[in-house]
């Protein structure tokens, strides 16, 4: 039987401080008027009342990481040659992600299939993944932009978590789901709480009862593929989009990257940074040709990737966890739920029309 403990709300900060001594701790905190996932700072504390604006993905895929450093030197013999020294910079050390939501934790599984799959193992990602422990906080309720239930998740889903925290009374019931989780719960910040296992389960069931009955977005491949050639539909869908990157960088499942060499004089570093498929330059080729020149193309790709191409390659797993950050933070209030629902309608209408 997995370990069950209780963590009082007021013991969170001291526990995180204790953890910070030998590992990096990432937790949501108030930063200006916004809640962001960042390194735990005792002066700032943690903010768990609402979904953070930025997702927890930076623990595994930071916005910027150094792949290696390089230095060029001229050799004495022969004098016309330059010697390049490369210094790899693999991540080291352990990390704890505290206060991820079920959507954040599920999203990390989406990265695993890509970065830690059978054919390709990214050493930077796997180093971080193997050394990170995810402590997930179940949500007491859904926001009006949440739709985890429509993409195969739920506010209390434990997928991807090492420890699941269920809010109860003046604290949280903590349940270990993996050996990494067990190790964390040995801390003296937690109280014994075997008797609370059932209460926690009841609390989660009560939360689930409030999740509304609504249609799911699973199994969209056929619909979306049938709309691939209908650029008029995508034009209309994307007309208000500004092609910024807010949705991409706030999305817990977006994982595209760019690699650049940043040189200063004789030395520099090769860095990998988040990239954004909504930007017009994303697919710009060296020849000058751009296969996705318009917003319509890029919107088709974004929605297609999340709801069609990725599921086709990965056992029907959607590359969207329904966190709603893209919806609530978009400057023009673009609603991906609406777009997907319209796509279903449009595809159905097209099929009916074809049968006439």
């Amino acid at each position: 039987m997995s370990t069950v403990r209780f963590l009082k709300a007021r013991d969170i900060a001291p526990w995180l401080e204790e953890l910070s001594r030998d590992r990096t701790v990432l937790a949501p905190a108030q930063h200006g008027g916004t809640i962001v996932f960042c390194e735990f700072d005792p002066a700032r504390g943690v903010e768990l009342s609402q979904l953070s604006t930025t997702p927890a993905k930076r623990a595994l895929l930071p916005p910027c990481e150094t792949l290696f450093e390089y230095e060029t030197t001229k050799t004495l013999e022969p004098p016309y040659k330059t010697h390049v020294e490369l210094r790899p910079t693999l991540p080291q050390g352990k990390a704890v992600v505290f206060g991820a939501r079920p959507c954040d934790a599920r999203a990390m599984q989406i990265f695993d299939r890509v970065y830690n799959g059978e054919q390709v193992k990214d050493p930077y990602y796997t180093a971080r993944r193997n050394n990170a422990t995810i402590v997930t906080l179940a949500c007491s309720e859904q926001d009006d932009t949440c739709f985890c239930d429509r993409v195969g998740g739920s506010p209390v889903d434990a997928t991807g978590s090492d420890v699941l925290l269920t809010p109860l009374k003046a604290g949280y019931v903590a349940e270990a789901l993996t050996p990494k989780g067990e190790e964390l719960l040995q801390s003296t910040s937690f109280m014994k709480a075997e008797g609370l296992r059932q209460e926690a389960l009841n609390a989660r069931n009560r939360i689930l009862e409030h999740v509304p009955e609504r249609s799911s977005f699973l199994d969209m491949e056929r619909n979306l593929l049938s709309l691939f050639g209908d650029l008029g539909f995508w034009d209309k869908t994307a007309e208000a989009c500004l092609s910024c990157g807010a949705c991409t960088y706030l999305c817990p499942t977006c994982y595209c990257f760019n690699i650049t060499d940043e040189t200063r004089g004789e030395s520099g570093r090769r860095i990998r940074t988040w990239d954004n498929c909504m930007s017009s330059q994303f697919t710009l080729e060296g020849s000058g040709h751009n296969p996705r020149p318009t917003k319509a193309h890029r919107m088709r790709n974004r929605i297609g990737h999340k709801f069609s191409y990725y599921p086709q390659l990965h056992d029907k797993t959607l590359a969207c966890v329904g966190c709603g950050r893209c919806v609530s933070n978009c400057p023009v209030s673009f609603d991906i739920r609406n777009a997907v629902a319209c796509a279903i309608q449009q595809a159905d209408a097209a099929r009916e029309h074809a049968h006439d």
Binding site: T24, P62, E65, T66, T89, Q92
Partner: protein, 154 residues
């Protein structure tokens, strides 16, 4: 060349090729002694100075930035310094709102024959920067934003 520890501060100068660079040359020929903190970048005209050069210099660690060109009305390219005058006056406000002390940026007009004036400009400006001390730099903890989540090997 490395900055002499504790002795020199980093002062960048954008000089126009015709008047100010000539003026600096005149100062050199006349053997006028001046502090060596200033590192000159030669441009054809102050009209070529993108005010963002100044911002970039400050954000990269400059303690002071000086721009010098022909006197208004005497620009080698007729109107370059008229544009520069407008742009650099607007730039002063940007530096101020960003939190870069406005005294760290100075622009002036020095003609090719004004070697003595050039020596004075450099001496006075360098003294002013030394009085202000090194500029505020980005704190090391914010620089850690490069790698969040895990500490790197280096």
């Amino acid at each position: 060349m490395p900055v002499l520890e504790g002795k020199e501060l980093r002062i960048v100068g954008f000089l126009c090729n015709w008047c100010s660079y000539g003026g600096a040359d005149t100062a050199g020929v006349g053997r006028f002694a001046q502090p060596t903190d200033l590192r000159v970048i030669k441009l054809p005209c102050t009209g070529r100075v993108n005010p963002l050069f100044v911002v970039r210099a400050f954000l990269n660690g400059a303690d002071g930035v000086l721009v010098s060109g022909c006197h208004p009305g005497d620009c080698h390219y007729t109107a370059g310094n008229f544009y520069a005058r407008r742009r650099l006056e607007v730039l002063r406000e940007l530096l101020d709102v960003m939190g870069i002390q406005p005294e760290r940026f100075h622009y002036t007009w020095v003609s090719a024959s004004e070697g003595q004036k050039w020596k004075q400009v450099v001496s006075d400006f360098t003294a002013r920067i030394h009085e202000l001390g090194p500029a505020t730099s980005f704190s090391s903890c914010a620089a850690v934003a490069v790698e969040t989540g895990m500490k790197t090997a280096i």
